[in-house]
Amino acid sequence: MAGRKLNKHWKGILLFLLPVIVLYGLFFVYPLGFVFTVSLTKWNGVSAMKFIGFKNFIDNFGNQNFQLAVRNNFLWAFALGVVQITLAATVAMILARRPKGWRVLRTVYFLPNVISKVAIAMLWLAIYNAEFGALNAFLDMIGLSGWTHNWLGEIETALPAVMFQEVVYIGYFMIIILAGTMSVPESYYEAAQIDGANVWQQERYITIPMIRSILVTAMTLAVAFGLRHFEATFLMTNGGPANSTTVMGLILYKALAALDYGHANATGATLIIVGAIIIAAIRRFLSSRDAVAESKQ
């Protein structure tokens, strides 16, 4: 029973926690409850809300564009959670070996993360433009005119084009993984080298297991970014052509613009539920105890 005894400093603890609890309740718990409540109603923001049960969810899942958006969000989660993290981890492992100029490269890779996503999307809009874009001009210049496209205006190329301009900026996750990689004790690699392990074997059997928890965290974040993806698609294609690049965030935004708060919040609630399930699954199946932390104990 001693463990259940109230901490004698409970008032102080409560006072310190209170601002956070109040803010968390006000700006997270309450809005979350509001999202789920409104998702069960028909509401235009002006008239009184009308309870309609799960009709908004049924409408959404019966809507072809919504199905397309869910598929695209999963593709985004894969592109960021798997492709981008793999690229970021590869570059981090290379830089962790401190090749010549690694500090400059680290900054160069990270730099795009301090630039506004809007500016980057505008830059890529210009690069992809079918009439005067740099990409088509380059392909023309090297004699590959047959490969030119209206990159953002063709169904086959639009989604990969938008994804590429996001996946290629690996700096954010590279820095996180690099920090983990550099914290692996040097002696492990020295021992492996004495045992005759090559570079690939060192990374495979030492680095990756040692930074597993960091990789899982980075992947969790990347998947979350993919599931809630909005900005680049909104700015570059607005979901087009023919809704082929649409995502749930965009459907939510368009429903808000149409004063259809019921469907908008149903979309938001779906995003939250799907996101929570996927992230819980990632944590459940990929997480393990922190090998780096263990090694230091």
């Binding site: 002006v46 009439e131 205006g153 607005n238 087009g240 052509p241 613009a257």
Partner: protein
């Protein structure tokens, strides 16, 4: 000890909550009983109307010093502005004065009692200043909760120099001739028309579609539901335009790209309103000089000479129980819609208004004169697609145009898609 704990607890809660309530509060009263009217406005920054509006607000504030002060809050992004107003209204925090594009979605603002009711105010002399029919257009269920202000006229713009280069003497009056002339333009290395599928409403292409529909459907075009064959017939023409007579980047292009092609002299035809005059005059003086305005060609069996004219911006205000504040808001709106003040904005910006006003024809931009004449000479005028359908249906136009352009959708499927969104 206990009471001190409770005091600290209360202080922390107050510290966290009070700023929210303070910053969430809406209407302000200036010092000494001055009524402060906040006006989040899109007519700021690069907007052509900004200088004239600024001057009028300044003049009003000086004339009412110590009593009323209008404070303009700049919001230069149109979509962002609309989102802000939607969010403010949903939260019950209606701005003192705001602007909105009238359409079936935004007219939902009229529901409830959030907006100021101008019905009685407009019954008197003030209402007589407006172009007949414009107040009726802003009246729903017998109640007028917004003031019609700016109107848009969007004829087809064409570059006479490029037409000359292709050997075309006059703008085609029928679509049969239009296709032939478009082929001649192409043969001369000129892209016939700017089109776009991007933005929230595929603006330029939405206007092309509206012109074609007006020719097919006549004055009652918007009385017909989406099941009417006119929508498919017009979509067929749009599909051909997209597939054969526009730029390679039309699918996915936004208003900047579609307008940019016309300004750069790459396309021979374009559609936009008089607010674009300032930009073309400044950025492409040669194209500006060569630009002429015209009605759309006639669809076989349809009408010729229609113009697309529509209410572009209405002014609305938050309802209030305070008679002094209400009077202040009405006073400012009356000032802004005074014919001589509207004439000042029109002459400086090129915009047209729902208020009857005289402009000095000798001192007016020649392209603006063309706009005025285009409307005066129209066989009839109807509004555009966007003004007649909810926002989500209009948003689907761009997606559908893109799908038709890429051959992924037939005109019939395009219209079915619009119907599906409308029925959702």
């Amino acid at each position: 000890m206990r009471s001190r704990f409770l005091i600290v607890l209360a202080a922390i809660v107050a510290l966290v909550l009070v700023p929210s309530f303070v910053f969430a509060s809406g209407q302000q009263q200036g010092g000494g009983g001055e009524i402060v009217i906040n006006w989040p406005s899109i007519w700021v920054g690069q907007d052509a109307k900004a200088p004239a509006i600024d001057a009028l607000v300044e003049e009003f504030n000086q004339a009412n010093e110590g009593k009323i002060k209008v404070v303009v809050e700049p919001n230069p992004d149109y979509d962002g502005y609309r989102d802000k107003i939607n969010a403010a209204i949903a939260a019950g925090q209606v701005p003192d004065i705001f602007i909105f594009n009238p359409d079936p979605t935004t007219f939902q603002y009229y529901e409830g009692d959030l907006l100021m009711d101008f019905t009685k105010d407009l019954n008197g002399a003030w209402g007589k200043q407006f172009v007949p029919g414009t107040i009726k257009g802003a009246t729903k269920n017998g109640v007028t909760k917004s003031i019609p202000f700016e109107v848009g006229v969007t004829p087809i713009w064409y570059n006479q120099d490029l037409f000359d280069k292709a050997g075309i003497k006059e703008f085609p009056k029928t679509f049969d001739q239009f296709w032939k002339d478009a082929d001649r333009l192409k043969a001369a290395g000129i892209v016939p028309a700017s089109q776009m599928t991007g933005g929230s409403n595929a603006w330029t292409s939405m206007l092309w579609y509206s012109h074609i529909l007006a020719s097919i459907g006549g004055q009652d075009v918007w009385d017909k539901p989406l099941t009417d064959p006119q929508y498919v017939e017009a979509a067929r023409i749009m599909q051909r335009m997209f597939q054969e007579y526009t730029t390679k980047d039309a699918v996915g292009a936004d208003a900047g790209v579609s307008g940019g092609h016309y300004l750069a002299g790459r396309t021979a035809m374009f559609i936009n309103g008089p607010w674009y005059i300032g930009r073309i005059r400044d950025e492409a003086p040669e194209v500006y000089k060569a630009t002429k305005l015209t009605p759309a060609p006639q669809v076989k069996g349809g009408k010729y000479g229609a113009q697309i004219a529509f209410p572009l911006s209405n002014l609305a205000a938050a309802s209030t129980d305070d008679p002094a504040r209400r009077a202040a808001v009405v006073k400012f709106l009356k000032w802004l819609t005074k014919p001589e003040n509207v004439a000042k904005i029109s002459e400086s910006a090129g915009s047209l208004f729902a208020i009857k006003y005289e402009v000095d024809r000798t001192n007016i931009d020649p392209l603006q004169l063309q706009f005025i004449d285009a409307l005066n000479n129209a066989s009839f005028a109807v509004s555009h697609f966007q003004a007649n359908f909810p926002v989500d249906v209009t948003a689907e136009l761009g997606q559908g145009f893109g799908a038709m352009a890429l051959g992924r959708m037939t005109p019939e499927e395009f219209v079915k898609q619009l119907q599906a969104v409308a029925n959702n």
